[in-house]
């Protein structure tokens, strides 16, 4: 699985992207965030308030309870502010 981080989520995690093997038992974006959160302080901080984090799966906006699989590209970021 490819994971990307943008804006302050990227700053807090300290990385822009990474490749991981999706662990057994992780079936949704929320579960993935919970799993990432325990990897270190930066990750815990990034995902401390999931109300402020948005997710895209395979480059489409998705809800936090959307299923994820090992072949997905998943991105975490704050609400968008373009325009």
């Amino acid at each position: 699985m490819k994971i990307l981080y943008f804006a302050w989520v990227r700053e807090k995690t300290g990385i822009a992207s990474e490749e991981i093997s999706l662990p057994d038992g992780i079936g949704t974006a929320t579960q993935l965030m919970d799993w990432l959160s325990v990897r270190g302080d930066g990750f815990a901080d990034a995902f401390a308030n999931t109300d402020t984090v948005r997710v895209a799966i395979n480059q489409e906006h998705a809800s936090l309870d959307h299923p994820v699989t090992d072949s997905d590209e998943v991105a975490f970021f704050p609400p968008v502010t373009g325009g």
């Binding site: 990307l4 943008f6 804006a7 302050w8 895209a56 480059q59 489409e60 906006h61 991105a75 970021f77 704050p78 609400p79 968008v80 502010t81 373009g82 325009g83």
Partner: protein
Amino acid sequence: MIRVQLEDFDIGQEIDALTAGNTGIGGICSFMGTVRDMAGGSGADDAVSTMTLEHYPGMTEKALAQIDAEANTRWNLAASLIVHRYGELTPGDRIVLVVTASAHRQDAFEACQFLMDWLKTKAPFWKLEASEDGASWVEARESDDDATARWK
């Protein structure tokens, strides 16, 4: 048509290129967004020195193309264009351009506003404002969500 680019654009050239040879067009609407010098846009004391736009290459193009396609489904447009810049900008710089052209003005007016409202809440861009006091990420506005929601 959509474009995501570092470079500046010229609104006149863009409109000419978009509408050249299409004499069925009777009206053209455009919206251009520029960088404000006020942090948060609401008269805060610290003047913005730079605004850096980050985006999600790949998804950005996809999202803008979907938004453009949606506008063309909802309105009768002869041509439409979204140009959005990324990278480091300074106050006064152009950020975004939306152009819509139609036979009659109503389609162009409405589609132009729709495109801006939708892209503000759906296109994956994030603004980082820097001033003398440091840098901070611009927060999304509820009013932008409301603006998107009214286009059912």
